[in-house]
Amino acid sequence: MEIAAKTEENILTKESMEILDKIISRYKGKRGALMPVLQEAQEEFGYLPIEIQNYIATQMGIPASEVYGVVTFYHFFTMVPKGRHTIKVCLGTACYVRGGKKIIEKLKNDLGIDIGGTTPDRRFSLDVVRCLGACGLAPVVMVDNDIHQGMKPSKLDKTLEPYK
C-alpha cells in the first residue's frame, strides 16, 4: 500500500510549510479548494507524502481522512517520490490495439521496474495513462511533457536517450 511510502528526509521543513501556506492562502474561503491546493502542492514537491497531507488538512480545517481519500482516489496524485523523468505509456484503446502493450513490456523489462515504479538511480518513473488524446499518432509515449508518436519497442532506446 502506498501509505507505507517512506520519505527520505523530513519533507515538512519550515521552508516547505511556507510554500504550502502560500498555496493555501490563495484558496482561502473558496469552495472546492482542496483539489487545486493538492494539485499545486504536488507540482511543487513532486509527490504528496502523509506529512504534507496532514499539514494541508490542519491548515485548511479538513479531516486528514478526507485529504487522504482525495489523494488516493485520483490517479494524478502520488504518495511516492518520482524519478527525474516520468515515462507515461499511453494505453488508450487506439494505442493498445496498435501495440502499446508491447511497449510497456519492453520498458518494464529494460528498466527493471513495474508500472508505478522508479529506477534506483531515480532517472525514470514508469506509468501508464488512459489516453493522452493523441490517438491519431498511436501508439504514443509521453516523457515529461513531450509526446513521442508512432512508437515501436525497437525505437525506445533512442527515444529515451536524451533524458538523462
Partner: protein
C-alpha cells in the same frame, strides 16, 4: 481594450477587425494541436517565423498557429490561404521552400501534396482530399482558420453573434424552444435532449443555477473535445453563455482533464480574453445578464465524467457518483440546480441559435440531428478527427473517409462508445450511425471514439483490456461493479492465458447481467458491454481460446510462440541484436533459432525482421 457595453460596440469592433485585415494577405495555417506538436509543429513554427522575418515578408504573409485540422495521420499539416493549398507531412526542412515557392512565387510544391491513394494524382486543395470532402465540418471546421488564443479571430468569423442574437432578439424561453426544436442531443454519450434538460433546470426552484461544461473526456481513443477546447474554445464558451442566459445561471464551470495541458491553457486564455472584452462578467453587452466561468482541473479519474461524480469533484471531494432519484438539474453542484453538457454539445449551441433550428434539423436522421465528430483511430489508414452528418454509414466513415485498413489486412470490428460501448462486426458496417442504431447493435455512440480493429486484434484480449480499465476506474461504491468487474476480468485473464474452461462464456454473460442491472451509475451499468458485445459477435474466438487453447488473432502470449522460418531467414542477425533477453542464436548468414525457454514473446524479432522470416504460431 475597453469592454463592450452594448451590441453596437461589439458589431463596430467586428467591422473594425475585418476592415483592418487584408483579404489578399497570405495566411499559413499550421496545425498546432497536441498531435501535430508531437510531430514537431513547434519547430516548424519557429522556422516559419525566422524565414518570414529574414525575407522581410511580414506584410505579405502571416503565420497562424491553429487547432486541429483533423487529418492527424498526415501531420504536421499546413493550409495556405486564400488558395487553400494543403501540404502534409511538412518538416522544418521544407519551410524555406514553402516561403519561396508558395508565398513569394505562386507555385505548388508537389512533393508535399497529398496523393490520391487510387488515382495516384496529387491533390492541391484541402477540400478535395477524400478524407475531407465527405465530411461536413460545421463544428470543427473553424479550427483550421482561427488562432484559438486570439479572440479577435473568433469575432472576425462572426463569433459571439449568436450570443448577441440570444440576448437581444430572443428570450430564455424562445432559446430553449429553439434548442428543443433543433433536437440537439447530448454529445457526451447518453444522447439526452439538451433543450429538455435546460428547461428542467430553468424550472427548478433555487436562487442559484449552475452550468457546467464536461470536458473530462475520459473515453480512451476519443479526443474531439480536446481538439475543440484547444482549437476553438470561444465557441464552447459562447454556447455556455447562451445556455446560462436561457437557464438563468450566473456561474459556470469547465471541468477539464488534467491530461490535456494545452486545452487547459487555451480555455483559460479564452476566458481571460472574454472577460477583458466584457463578454464574461457583469452586465454583458450592457444587459442585465451577468455570467462568469471558472476552470477546474480533473485528477485523472474516469468516473468523474459521470455528472454527479464530476460535481463532487468540483466540490473538492472524491468523485463518487450518487443515486439520481433527484436529478442534477434540480439538485446538483452544491445542491443547486445544475445543467451539465459536454464540450461538443455546447459548441453546437451558437450554430443552432445563429442558423436556426430549421436549418440545423435538416442535417442528420429523424431522431439524431446535426453532425457528430468522431476520432477515427486504430487500424485504419487515415487516422484523425472526422465530422460527419448523423446517418452516414460506418462503412463510409471507415472506408471512404478512413481509407480502410492498412497493410492489406482484413477489417474485423469497430469499437464505439469507449469502455461503455461495444464492438461492431463487418456485417453491420452499412448501419447508419446515430444514437439509436448503435445502441440497437449492443454498442453506443459514446463521446465519439471509433477504434478500428483488424484481423490481428484479438477480441477476447480487447474485452479484457476494457475490463482492466474499468476495474481500476470503478469508484468502489457498488459491490456489483467493484467485485463483479474484477471477477469478469479474472475469467477473461484465464481465457487469454489458456486456463479457460467450459461454462466460462455463460458465467461471463450471467455476471455481466448482474453488474449491468445492479450498479448505480453509468460506469457499472455499461461495464459489461465490451464483453457481451464481443461474445455476441465473436463467440467463436472465445471458444477457440477455451476449447482449442488457440488465439486466432495470434495476440494472447500464452497461446502463441515465435519461430524463425529456416527457409526465409538470411542470418542477417537483426533479430539477434535486438532481442532484449538474448534468446536468439545463430551464425552469421545462417538461419537463426529462438530459444523458447528464454523467449519473453515481446515480438521485437517479428517487428525488426526485414525478410518476414519470424512467424507467430
Amino acid at each position: 481594450m475597453s469592454k463592450f457595453l452594448s451590441k453596437q460596440d461589439l458589431e463596430e469592433y467586428r467591422k473594425k477587425i475585418i476592415n483592418s485585415r487584408d483579404p489578399n494577405k497570405i495566411i499559413i495555417a499550421l496545425c498546432g494541436d497536441t498531435g501535430c506538436q508531437a510531430y514537431g509543429a513547434n519547430k516548424i513554427a519557429d522556422a516559419f517565423r525566422k524565414e518570414i522575418k529574414a525575407k522581410n515578408l511580414q506584410d505579405r504573409v502571416e503565420l497562424k498557429i491553429t487547432g486541429c485540422h483533423g487529418f492527424c495521420e498526415r501531420g504536421p499539416l499546413i493550409v495556405i490561404y486564400p488558395k487553400k493549398i494543403f501540404y502534409q507531412k511538412v518538416s522544418e526542412k521544407d519551410v524555406s521552400e514553402i516561403i519561396s515557392e508558395s508565398v513569394v512565387n505562386d507555385n505548388v510544391i508537389e512533393r508535399l501534396l497529398y496523393v490520391h491513394p487510387e488515382t495516384k494524382e496529387p491533390i492541391v486543395k484541402e477540400d478535395e482530399v477524400p478524407f475531407y470532402n465527405r465530411q461536413q465540418k460545421i463544428i470543427s471546421g473553424m479550427n483550421s482558420v482561427i488562432d484559438p488564443t486570439n479572440i479577435d479571430d473568433y469575432i472576425a468569423i462572426g463569433g459571439y453573434s449568436a450570443l448577441e442574437k440570444a440576448l437581444f432578439d430572443m428570450d430564455p424561453d424562445s432559446i430553449i424552444e429553439e434548442v428543443k426544436k433543433a433536437n440537439l442531443r447530448g454529445r457526451g454519450g447518453g444522447g439526452f435532449p439538451t433543450g429538455v434538460k435546460w428547461e428542467s433546470c430553468k424550472n427548478a426552484p433555487g436562487d442559484i443555477h449552475y452550468v457546467i461544461c464536461n470536458a473530462d473526456e475520459g473515453d480512451p481513443g476519443a479526443y474531439m473535445d480536446r481538439s475543440l477546447l484547444e482549437g476553438n474554445p470561444h465557441s464552447v464558451l459562447e454556447g455556455m453563455m447562451i445556455g446560462a442566459y436561457a437557464i438563468g445561471s450566473s456561474e459556470g464551470y469547465v471541468y477539464v482533464r488534467n491530461e490535456y495541458p494545452l486545452a487547459v491553457e487555451n480555455v483559460n486564455i479564452a476566458i481571460k480574453q472574454a472577460r477583458e472584452y466584457g463578454l464574461l462578467g457583469e452586465n454583458i453587452l450592457g444587459t442585465d445578464f451577468s455570467f462568469d466561468i471558472k476552470v477546474t482541473r480533473g485528477g485523472g479519474a474516469f468516473v468523474c465524467g459521470e455528472s454527479t461524480a464530476l460535481m463532487a469533484s468540483i466540490e473538492g471531494l472524491w468523485g463518487e457518483p450518487r443515486a439520481k432519484h433527484i436529478h442534477t438539474v434540480v439538485s446538483g453542484l452544491y445542491n443547486k440546480p445544475t445543467n451539465l453538457n459536454n464540450v461538443e454539445t455546447w459548441a453546437n449551441v451558437p450554430l443552432i441559435i445563429n442558423k436556426g433550428a430549421d436549418w440545423y434539423s435538416k442535417i442528420g436522421t429523424e431522431n439524431s440531428k446535426g453532425t457528430k465528430i468522431f476520432s477515427l483511430v486504430g487500424k485504419v489508414n487515415n487516422t484523425g478527427l472526422v465530422e460527419v452528418p448523423m446517418g452516414i454509414t460506418l462503412r463510409e466513415i471507415i472506408f471512404d473517409i478512413g481509407g480502410g485498413v492498412p497493410n492489406g489486412k482484413k477489417f474485423k470490428a469497430v469499437q464505439t462508445g469507449g469502455p461503455s460501448g461495444g464492438c461492431i462486426p463487418e456485417e453491420y458496417l452499412d448501419t447508419p450511425v446515430d444514437f439509436d442504431r448503435l445502441t440497437e447493435l449492443g454498442s453506443m455512440m459514446g463521446s465519439g471514439g471509433m477504434i478500428v480493429m483488424d484481423e490481428s486484434t484479438c477480441m477476447v484480449d480487447v474485452a479484457r483490456y476494457f475490463l482492466n480499465f474499468l476495474k481500476d476506474e470503478s469508484c468502489g461504491k457498488c459491490t456489483t461493479c467493484r467485485e463483479g468487474i474484477k471477477r469478469m476480468y479474472e475469467i477473461l485473464t484465464d481465457i487469454t492465458e489458456g486456463r479457460g474452461k467450459e461454462g466460462d462464456i455463460e458465467l461471463l454473460e450471467e455476471l455481466g447481467w448482474v453488474v449491468a442491472n445492479a450498479s448505480l451509475c453509468g460506469l457499472g451499468q455499461t461495464a459489461p458491454n465490451p464483453v457481451l458485445s464481443t461474445i455476441r459477435y465473436f463467440r467463436d474466438e472465445y471458444e477457440a481460446h477455451i476449447k482449442e487453447k488457440r488465439c486466432p488473432a495470434k495476440v494472447c502470449k500464452a497461446l502463441i510462440r515465435y519461430e524463425i522460418d529456416q527457409e526465409k531467414c538470411t542470418g542477417c542477425g537483426r533479430c539477434r541484436i535486438n532481442c532484449p533477453v538474448e534468446a536468439i542464436s545463430g551464425e552469421k548468414k545462417k538461419p537463426h533459432i529462438i530459444d523458447q525457454e528464454k523467449c519473453i514473446k515481446c515480438g521485437i524479432c517479428h517487428e525488426v525482421c526485414k525478410f518476414d522470416a519470424v512467424n507467430i504460431i
